[in-house]
């Protein structure tokens, strides 16, 4: 039984936009014997868009509070995040606290107001890093009982699990880990030149038209390369690609209807989990292509 401190992030809350990720990840961890110990009373990481309202210290203080709570509750065990943006801002905050004395000092002055303190030393890891580094490809493959043979999937890595830190030293321009995960489930990873293109991120809210053009190109490339589904590790990407398909079809004259799934949903299904376990019932665009494996 492997244990990790867990930071779900806002979108993974009950009834939140990434509930399907959260639920499938919990199933995934159950199968793998991973125990995720959620930080009690965690707060928002402030996300990538938090800079404008928060600036440096308030923004980082928010992540720091989560670290402080984690340290208090669970010591320095690795902290696992499932959301790309959470993982990124937590990791960045920790780095700056450890590298910049001035930041460390100010952050702690602020934390003191909440009766907390943090001096670094908690490693923030993305769930995919845990799968690759701690569980290992062999196990991921060996768990497969219902290989998704014949399923054509486009592995959409997106931005924030890939840059600026990257996952397990994978390349920024052509990361392979997600394709490898798809292949591990028995499915086929189609060639996908847009795998690291940007979906518009948070600008989907404020610059919807511009962002939709980006999202459209990604969907188009996946479809052109024969993908039945798109797989992603990032809730922002998932949301933008799935929820805005309708609008894109309307405004840009396309007729996409391609399910956007998380790697975790694919694993759970391939490992013999139920439709529910894989939270496939929580897709706005139904995961029809997976029916044949259910």
């Amino acid at each position: 039984m492997k244990e990790y401190t867990f930071f779900p992030g806002c979108s993974s809350e009950h009834n939140a936009s990434a509930a399907n990720m959260e639920n499938s990840i919990q199933s995934m961890c159950r199968i793998l014997g991973i125990q995720l110990n959620e930080i009690d009373d965690w707060n928002c990481c402030s996300a990538s868009i938090g800079y404008a309202g928060g600036g440096q210290l308030p923004r980082m203080a928010m992540s720091a509070r989560n670290f402080a709570l984690a340290q208090k509750q669970k010591g320095n065990t690795d902290l696992v995040a499932t959301c790309a943006a959470c993982w990124l801002s937590m990791r960045e905050t920790n780095e700056r606290i450890e590298e910049e004395p001035r930041i460390k000092q100010d952050i702690n002055t602020a934390l003191a107001e909440a009766g907390l303190s943090y001096d670094g030393h908690i490693k923030t890891r993305h769930m995919v890093e845990v799968l690759i580094e701690d569980i290992g490809w062999e196990t991921l493959q060996s768990k497969v009982t219902k290989p998704l043979t014949g399923l054509k999937a486009a592995g959409y890595v997106g931005c924030q699990t890939n840059r600026p830190f990257g996952v397990c030293g994978d390349s920024y321009e052509n990361p392979l880990y997600l394709d490898k995960m798809i292949e591990a489930t028995g499915a086929t990873a189609v060639p996908f030149p847009m795998k690291v293109a940007c979906c518009g991120g948070a600008l989907m809210f404020s610059e919807t038209e511009k962002a939709c053009v980006l999202t459209k190109q990604i969907l188009q490339s996946a479809v052109d390369n024969g993908a039945e589904v798109i797989i992603t590790p990032c809730p922002v990407c998932q949301l933008n690609l799935e929820v805005y398909q309708g609008m894109i079809n309307k405004t840009l004259g396309t007729n996409f209807n391609i399910p956007i799934l998380y790697y975790s949903q694919l694993f759970v299904l391939a490992w013999g989990g139920s439709w529910q376990d894989a939270a496939l019932h929580q897709q706005v665009i139904p995961a029809e292509p997976l029916r044949r494996f259910a």
Partner: protein, 419 residues
Amino acid sequence: MADAHAAGQTILVVGGGISGLTTAVEAAETGYNVLLVEKDPQLGGRVAQHNKYFPKLCSPVCGLEINFQRIKNNPRIRYLTLSEVEEIQGSEGNYTVRIRKNPRFVTEACTGCGDCAAVCTTEVADPFNFGLNKVKAIRNNHAMAFPSWYYMDPAYAKTDEAKQVAKICPAGAIQPDMEASVIEEQVAAVVWATGWKPYDAEKILPYGFGQYANVTTNMRFERLASVYGPTGGKIIRPSDGKEAKSVAFIQCAGSRDHNYLPFCSRVCCLASMKQATYVRDQYPDSKVTVFYIDLRAMDRYESFLQKTREDANISWIKSKPARIEEDANGNPVVIGENTLTGERYAMPFDLVVLATGMEPHSAVDAKVPSDQASHDEYGFVTGGVLAAGCAAAPTDVASSVQSATAMAMKAIHAAVKRG
């Protein structure tokens, strides 16, 4: 001789490229003994792979030929090929060096008749042409190669065929069972002239070298343009053999970049101007585009820049491209911002040439042994043993020759000190 005893001293020159050859020849013709050590089977080094020199657009072989003649006629120069310096003990004026001689499997008795290559059935990717074509496993680098006797790939030497081939050599020069040997020499000075290797373009991920067939490198392009290269001098694109009439050169591909080589490789700008003339001379209806950050045509080379600028079919875009994509026709599409117009471009070309920079051998596969040198953070030799040409800094050929001649002088100082 100024000092008969000093003249008895030997100067060790490591590297048989233009710098090493120059140090060797200049020191020997001043009256000193020289031991020249080259790790490859034949002398000439990097320049031997070049089609032409800038700014005169003449063949490097011309200058090499004189130097080779001078070596042949000068009993003061001993040279070892396929050899590497393993250890250096002592200090300036009084070194003991250990040199490993790797087997060539062909002795100097070889007459270059070529009978062996004719019957050899094993072909390998030609390292001299960066693997762009295949050659026999027993061969010469090129028709002008010096020394002109053949060499055999170690892997091939182990085969039964090699033993058969050995039998047909009229001079009995082929010895597949030849083994490495180690010699020790006393020398007064050590001149490190190990030159450079092209930076590995596959590391420059946004440009997709290795991923896109029609993205190549400047050194490969030299071979592509050479009559003795893989295409007999036809400038064609690898993917489909189509004539490459619209060619882009991307400067600082690896150089001036903290993700790769932080220093400036000095010659790449001029090399690309030169290579632009290859394209323009071969296809009158061709168009060349050069993407650059700063055009570095130092001092008198400026006139070469001005000359190439007169050609309206060569355009210059001040921009470090962000990345390369490939379109449906296999054209590399170069994407970036023209920093003088602010325009964001995406331009397709038949062929893109990456002006990859210089990585000093002294940083990777020809380190100075036994801590006998200090290096800067890039691996250039900055102290300890003497360093000539690109072992000390990125330099063009003329500057390398200057540096190499100067190092001959410094080496003589060491010999005099000893003498």
